[in-house]
Amino acid sequence: MNTRDKTYSAARMNEAMLSSMQPPTLRWYLLALVLGAVVAVGLYAFTVQLTTGMVVTGINRPVMWGLYIISFVFWVGLSHSGTMVSAILRLSQASWRRPILRGAEAMTVFSIAVAGLFPLIHLGRNWIFYYLIPYPSQYGLWPNFRSPLLFDMVAINTYIIGSGIFLYIGMLPDLALVRDRSTGWRRKIYGLLAIGWRGTAEQWRVFSRGSTLLACLIIPVAVSVHSIVAWDFAVTLVPGWHSTIFAPYFVIGAITSGVAAVITLMIVIRKAFKLEEFLLPLHFDNMSKLLLAVCLLWSYFYFAEVFTTWYGHKPIEWEWFSYMHDHYGLALFIMILGNTIVPIVGLCFRRVRRSTAALLGITLLVNVAMFIERFLIVVPSLSHKNIPFIWGSYTPSWVEMSIALAAFALFFLLYTLFTKFFPILAITDVREQEEALIGQQQLGRARVETLVNEE
């Protein structure tokens, strides 16, 4: 790169990467309106549940947990993408992470926030949810920290705050950049958000080392969050839940759905904001390899769990196992198809890994399959517990389905708003690579590109 036109090219790159922040079009408003409407329907359904009681759901004895808990596990799972892509790839100095990381980190924050709503929606008496918060009350009574739900509450809060900080710190230089190019009240707001960042040499040094330290801290938190969600199930006496493999199995499942969702979102963002220049086939290729690896791992864990249950043939475990096979055969088939057969076979091919159309299909299928997986974990085990006299089944009601659907709309709405107000590509990270880390060197008779090591 010629140093003389660097000013020019930096300005152009800023402009191109901030394309998502241009004034919203009519299409954008329409999308936001539709998403808002779906959220409104969900809110209405929740109001009905609040005023009538849990009778409006499909919950019954013995299936006391339903679509809300399934959605909770699903959304917590999705939130594992940001840390996977951003933190792990940062630590392994994989430079191709740069255009992907912001989108993935934002996804983490919004999906964990959506996930955090479900345990509250799920409560029989939502209005006293604060009984779960440790505060000194006049009764002198504290919550029961021996309950896995308290582990959950603490872990989810840690993850929401932690991933929020991770997203914010990573975005700080970009916020300053947006501040510098905006005017009026926008400049004031971005000025507040950028808290006076000037990009001095010391600030950059602290920024890059601190981000690495944050990555080190957020990865074990992410692992613990989904392990704790798994332990909600695994510590019980429910046949089919009480399993030591659940924690690692859930973590891998979370990363599987997270990576798939990041690819889906990358495809959408790339198309919507015309970012073909930055999100290259290489990025899809690498992410797909990651997805392939975690799909293989997931399949391995699933096989290990199912195989031992099948061979051990304990009557009590066989009961829910055969119930699942008999009643949810089709769901089971879609799950295996979407989590194992299609991604593992498909992603072996370079042409598939570099085709956005194929990837869109595969990644959506993976997440459909992961949703089904959570359903098959929660429902069949509860339907056929120890007491045959109280065996049942579960069908979600319109209230539950509206709220589950509204969660998707809420997530996309938050994400759409985020792309309008914040840079969706990590501008300085991408430009650092382009400007500061890539150089040229005469090698024999050619000038070749070289890459300076990341700190």
Partner: protein, 170 residues
């Protein structure tokens, strides 16, 4: 007092740093403003190791203590038997301690980083919006008004596009 010279690109900024060093301004008083990070020494050399990790450690320790007190302490304050679990059970206490330790360590990292970066700082400071589009700022921080003048002349002759101080920002 701070004086900022804005340079069109990296090479000019680097030459300006050389010129400033040549007239006797120590490297500790010079820093660069840029919109992307450059490896150490490209413009100025690192002065000292940032110690932000101390924030993570201190907050992490506090968090672990809070977690332990919440899980073990509150159970002990109001002991209620549940199942045959001990009032202070090792695994739950460990999990809560761990989670709060990590939460506070992350917050501590944020605080430590802000501390080392001197942020938030809303005072008017020499800055130029061109930096966002690839210009490089060279900043001389000094106590002596005389040195500011020396730096101003030096940077002017090195080809600074623009020079500014705090007063210009107000």
């Amino acid at each position: 007092m701070e004086i900022l010279g804005v340079f069109a690109d990296l090479d000019e900024a680097a030459r300006a740093v050389d010129d400033l060093l040549a007239i006797g301004i120590p490297e500790t008083k010079i820093t660069s403003l840029s919109s992307v990070p450059y490896p150490d020494g490209v413009l100025v050399r690192e002065k000292h190791q940032p110690r932000f990790y101390l924030g993570s450690l201190a907050f992490g320790a506090v968090g672990a203590l809070i977690g332990f007190s919440l899980a073990a302490g509150t159970a002990w304050l109001y002991p209620l038997q549940t199942g045959d679990k001990p009032i202070i059970s090792i695994f739950p206490v460990g999990i809560i301690t761990y989670e709060l330790m990590m939460l506070f360590a992350i917050i501590g990292t944020l605080v430590g980083m802000f501390w080392c970066m001197g942020l938030p700082d809303f005072r008017p400071k020499p800055y130029a919006a061109e930096i966002a589009i690839g210009a490089i700022g060279i900043l001389v921080q000094t106590e002596h008004p005389g040195e500011v003048e020396v730096a101003r002349r030096a940077m002017q002759s090195s080809g600074a596009q623009r020079l500014c101080t705090e007063e210009d920002e107000e």
